[in-house]
Every structure is written in structure tokens, then in C-alpha cells.
Symmetry: C2
Subunit: 338 residues, 2 copies
């Protein structure tokens, strides 16, 4: 037995599980709601509506430039809540660990979760740990589920969004950083200018946008499937279409270079700290100003608008002047990106 | 490409993911809260307190006598809520799928989840699907997180339980059925009398017990770690001890036989449809009567009591007259039991 490695007994529900929970998880995630370590955690009721979401994280490699799976597991779920108009409040954390995982790596991951939870102002209040034999998972998979509170003034997010021709499409920053950072780490690419993942909680940025909540019609975090898939989802089978301008979409030069090398289209790459906003026509300048006041939104930009010219279709006006019909991602570009 | 098998593209976030969600998950889990398929689901606020819990399921084999991983994933999380004094309401479902999993098997699992959710009166309102390459998980892992509502009259469950010497310990039925059913399936044991898992939602039984909520001090579902681990957890570092009588603990004969064969102690085996109740002294007959009125509680029985004779210790009076000090499970008896 090696005391520095995860063993099957850590998932047994017995003494070793208990020790792992009290000495690692409860120590880092310390809060009064988690502390009783019961079958469920008790949280205060809210008269306002709640948002509820879940995501499993299976990213490879577990540590990547700019973050690790723990940070990602907190940010990803916080972001799903934030773009739903919710104030993220409570997270669960479900760990699937591979026998032989180093306890040091697990501690780094758990520590990063605690830091990111504090940063995003959420509490990790309930959890679970399973251990599988070597070769039955890849180091560590984490599920986080999240509960957020919908303030009354955000209630329109819980209804079907009312988008009109002329409404504007904003992007909070450059595309593809996360996917390319992970790919570079996995493939051991040598990059002159290293690319860091953009993994970050978006709730602070969402809050800035929602200072005037009625100005914002819908928000989406741009994860798997990338920008193009979301644009198609937004207008498919709708009475309106979407038009975006290729040369307004910010993509960093090193990301662009790797994309050319691999034949990737950055419109389909995953991000973990970028959002799309659909805002009422005429409010875009106001909102961009607020977004840009935050470092995470410094490169926020107007990329297109809702149109009645081609209902149900998302079209990109290319740099060279042509028009390109966008479709959802087909197949898979980069597996295990989150 | 084989259309009958899960492919990496099913986890891409693109068109294939969308089709899997709309044609499989949303079809079986159909409900108005899930239907918009947004980044989060919106649920009504509750002025009463909420219970929040999470569990990942990695059971091997995925299909076992008496159930499958989908059924287990719904029941396990429902049970954590139920024993916390909550009325289970909403579940999330996060799937990690191995490339090459048959879509037919996935459909069976999802169908079982839908049936069990209806049975337990919960809705599956949000989900996530990730696909990893062959050999990076074992067929399918499922995380379910759950939200339940704590009625005002159950509010004492959210506080530290007030147990007194003389309070009684009830067990809802026989021990070890789930663990032995899974083990038998995994090891291809030939049993003259087949053993079925006891996997079942406990909320109906909990509700019967809680018809007089003040009579019930605490409930626990007896999963990993088994009865002995829970008894130790309940009294460790407390001013009271626990005493149980071995010959009052129901264990089916075929379970007992397999235990003898493998050298297992049934007190440490996992169950997925059994609960322990600590009830006020004098109320045990009332409660047993109510529990036995339900098929799932037909063998409910009084197994012991809270005592001040040996504070902090859980002791079992054996059939032959000796006393045995119980400890939590050490190491792991049967990995991947849930």
C-alpha cells in the first residue's frame, strides 16, 4: 500500500473514505453547509426562481496551461448558471478517481476548486467520491452541479427570449484559447508564444451586462461546439436569422496559427471563459462599455445582428466578401476538451 | 462509422450531441422544465429549506439482477434526499459514455431512469453528456444530483439530531441483497436461488415513517460501508453509544451463504433500498406498523437502541452471547458496487 496514491478503499464508504473527506475535501471546501457531511446538504429556500445545471468534466490533460480540471469544473458550471441569468450560489462535486492517482495531484485540483469557488462566490456544499480500478477512468473525472438564484428583475431569462431583427450580437473576447491551449499541452506542441486557457468564471461579467437587465435578451457561454454551433442553435427553426462579420471576431494570432496547422475552424473551438450576448438594438454601446470595464471583457465586441433576411439561418460575411452558411459542429474536433 | 454505437461526436456539443439529446434523453425524460434544453433549467422557488445532494454511479456490471445503472442512479440520489427528510423533486443526469457503447444499452438505461423517476415522483430536468475514448471509462458512468424540498414539519432534520438513551434503531429490511446480486453477476456465480438487488426508491417508505415527523430523529440509507459503518458514524465522539442485536438483523439465507463463501461480513455490505431509522423511545411499534404496511418495509424490524453504557461505541450482541465492538469498513470489500 502506498499512502500517497488513491486506493480503492478511498471510495469504499468506510474509514478511508471518511478520512479523505474530512482531511481533504472538507478542509478545502470548508463552509457551514458542507460541515455536517450528511447524505444531503441543507440550503435556505428562495422565493425567487432557481436555476439548476450539471456538467461532467473529463478533460485531458488534467493540468493544462492556464488551469486544471478542478478550476474548469467550478467555472464551467458557474458559467452555465451565470448565462442563464442566475446568481450562482451552490455547487456539488462528484469525483470519479482512478486507483493510483497521486494524492498530491488530487490536492492541487481540490485547492484550485476552492480558490475558483471563492472567486466566483459560490459554495461547494455536497460531494461524492468513487474510485475505479486502474484503466477504468483516466486519472480523474469531476461532475459539478449548480444551483443559482434568479433575481426577480432577471425573470425574463426564464421565458422564451424575444429576439427582433436589428438586435445585436456581442462577443466577450477572443475565440479558441482554451481548446488550443489544451491541444498544445496534449500534443506537446512547441509554441513560440504560449497560449493559456481562458478558463474563468463569467458571473462577474454577466452581472455587469445585467446592470440594465432588460437590455439583455439572452446570454450563452461558448463551450463545446463553439460559436458557430450556438449561432445555429439560436436561429434554427426561428422566424429570424443571424448575420455575423468574420473580421469582427477576435482570434489571437497564435491560436490562428495552430488552427491553420491542424485545419481547425476557430468558430467551432471550445472556450471556457467567453460568452455571447444578444442585446436589444441600440443598447450595444452601453453594454460593451460595461463589459470592457472588466478585464475579462476588455476585448468585448459587436460581431453581428439578428436579421429577417434569411429566417432560420446563421450566415457569416467573410473577410473577402463572400457569405458562408454556418452549420453546427459535425463529428468531433478535439475530444475531451472539458 | 457504426450508427448503433456511441461515437466521440456524441459528446462534441455539435449536431450529433443535439440529436442524441432530442431523440433519446429529452424523449424519455420528457417534462416542461427540461424541454427548453438551455444551459440551466428553471425551477420554482421554495420558501421552505432545500436539500441538495450528488452521487456518481460506476457500478460493474451495468446490468445486474434486479436493475441497471440507470435505475440505481435515480434511486440512490432520491434516497439521499428522502433520508434527509426531503421530498425529492428534481434530478440532474450527467453521463460519461465510453466510445463504442451500444445505443441500445444506453436506451435501456435511460428508459429505466425514466420509469424509476416516475416511480419516485421526481423529474430529470437538466443533463450533460461526455464521451471518452475506448478504455477511458468502463461503458457508462452516471452522476445524478438532486434537489428536494424540506416541509416545515421536517425542519428538525436540518438540525443536529437529538438522540437520547432508550431511543430505538429500526431497519427497513434484510441486508446485503444489492452487494451480493452485483457480486454474483460479476463473478458469474451459480446460485440455486438467485439474489436480486434491492434497488428501490425509499421516499415512499420515508413518507410513511414521517406521518408523525416528530417521532423520527434520524434516517440513513444503508449504502457503501454498510450498516456497521453507519452505526459507528452515528455514535463516534458522541455522549451516547449504540447497541444492536445480531439475531434481529434480517439476512436472507442465499446472501448468508455467499458471505460465508467469500468471507464477507454482511454488516459491511452495500444496499440500495434499505434504511436505518432512529426513533423516539416508545414510538417504535407505531412506526414499524406503518413501515410494514408498504411492501418495501414488510420486513422492517427493531434491531437495537441508543445507550449511555458505552459512549461513542457501537456494539453488537452476538447470537452466541458475546459482544463485538463495531468499526467502520476498512479497505474495500466489493469495489464498484454503486
Amino acid at each position: 500500500m502506498n499512502n500517497h496514491l488513491i486506493q480503492l478503499g478511498h471510495g469504499s464508504g468506510g474509514r478511508m473514505s471518511r478520512n479523505l473527506i474530512t482531511q481533504l475535501f472538507a478542509r478545502y471546501f470548508a463552509n457551514d453547509t458542507l460541515r455536517p457531511l450528511g447524505d444531503s446538504s441543507y440550503i435556505a429556500g428562495q422565493t425567487s426562481q432557481l436555476a439548476f445545471t450539471t456538467d461532467s468534466y473529463v478533460i485531458d490533460p488534467v493540468f493544462f496551461p492556464g488551469g486544471n480540471i478542478g478550476q474548469l469544473a467550478v467555472c464551467g458550471t458557474v458559467n452555465d448558471l451565470a448565462v442563464s441569468g442566475a446568481i450562482p450560489r451552490f455547487l456539488s462535486a462528484g469525483f470519479i478517481l482512478e486507483e493510483g492517482l497521486s494524492l498530491k495531484d488530487l490536492e492541487k485540483i481540490v485547492a484550485a476548486m476552492a480558490v475558483e469557488a471563492a472567486n466566483a462566490k459560490v459554495q461547494i456544499v455536497t460531494g461524492d467520491t468513487k474510485v475505479v480500478r486502474r484503466g477504468q477512468c483516466d486519472k480523474i473525472y469531476i461532475n459539478t452541479s449548480g444551483i443559482g438564484e434568479i433575481p426577480e428583475k432577471h425573470a425574463h431569462f426564464t421565458r422564451k427570449p424575444a429576439m427582433q431583427p436589428g438586435d445585436k450580437i456581442l462577443l466577450s473576447g477572443s475565440l479558441g484559447d482554451h481548446a488550443i491551449a489544451v491541444l498544445a499541452a496534449r500534443e506537446n506542441l512547441y509554441l513560440e508564444e504560449p497560449i493559456l486557457s481562458d478558463v474563468a468564471p463569467l458571473n462577474h461579467l454577466a452581472q455587469l451586462a445585467l446592470e440594465q437587465p432588460e437590455q439583455v435578451l439572452q446570454m450563452r457561454d461558448i463551450t463545446r461546439g463553439g460559436l458557430a454551433t450556438i449561432l445555429v442553435e439560436l436561429c434554427e427553426n426561428q422566424s429570424f436569422g443571424i448575420e455575423v462579420l468574420e473580421n469582427e471576431i477576435p482570434i489571437k494570432q497564435p491560436v490562428r496559427s495552430v488552427c491553420e496547422l491542424f485545419g481547425f475552424d476557430p468558430l467551432y473551438l471550445a472556450n471556457e471563459g467567453k460568452m455571447l450576448l444578444i442585446v436589444k438594438n441600440g443598447t450595444e454601446k452601453d453594454i460593451l462599455k460595461r463589459l470592457r470595464s472588466n478585464l475579462a471583457g476588455a476585448n468585448a465586441t459587436l460581431i453581428g445582428e439578428i436579421t429577417d433576411r434569411h429566417p432560420g439561418k446563421a450566415i457569416m460575411q467573410s473577410v473577402v466578401g463572400g457569405k458562408r452558411l454556418l452549420d453546427m459542429l459535425h463529428g468531433e474536433l478535439v475530444p475531451r476538451i472539458c
